[in-house]
Amino acid sequence: MNVFLFSWSAGILGVAAVLVLGRLVGGPTIPDRVVALDTMNTLAVAIMILLAVVYDSVVMVDVAVVYAALSFVTTLFIARHLEGGTGR
């Protein structure tokens, strides 16, 4: 019962990621696309943790932790490039 609940919520978050990708490909400006990518990163981490509950394995939480740390670095690099890059 609980597994079905978590699995359906992961599917709904997948549909939400489809809607966010519409903003990523159709955003008028670059910051729109960066914010859409950051939202997709957060949705992916949420989907990974929900599916770790569904698959009942603790190892899969590590993937979500590693991805949450590295997507932050990626967004930080894009933001520094947008700002103008004062110094390297």
Partner: protein
């Protein structure tokens, strides 16, 4: 499980759409962002196929290192002396100028 198929379908459609737009954008920074989205969705797909170690490698290399290296390379390209026509705004007015000459 129908809900697992729903997640599969959503992720695969997203991979194809983001990969198409990564080569369709004229702006290079938008293309890098779309390529990062492809890498993210590929990590999610490896995860759904229950290969967590491959997903960790894809998340670390594809989403973390590769996007940062592309951003550094793009910044290096824009600092280069003007000679190549990287931006489409510079390339498009030139044929209009050359046409009235003869």
């Amino acid at each position: 499980m129908p809900q697992n198929d729903l997640v599969h379908g959503a992720v695969l459609v997203l991979i194809v759409v983001a990969g198409f737009f990564a080569i369709w954008f004229r702006d290079l920074l938008s293309s890098i962002i779309s390529l990062s989205a492809v890498s993210l969705l590929l990590a999610v797909e490896f995860y759904i196929l229950q290969a967590p170690d491959v997903a960790i490698a894809e998340a670390a290399i594809g989403a973390g290192l590769s996007t940062a290296i592309y951003i550094v390379a793009l910044r290096g390209c824009r600092k280069a002396p003007s000679g190549g026509s990287l931006s489409p705004e510079e390339a498009t007015p030139e044929p209009g100028k050359e046409e009235p000459k003869p």
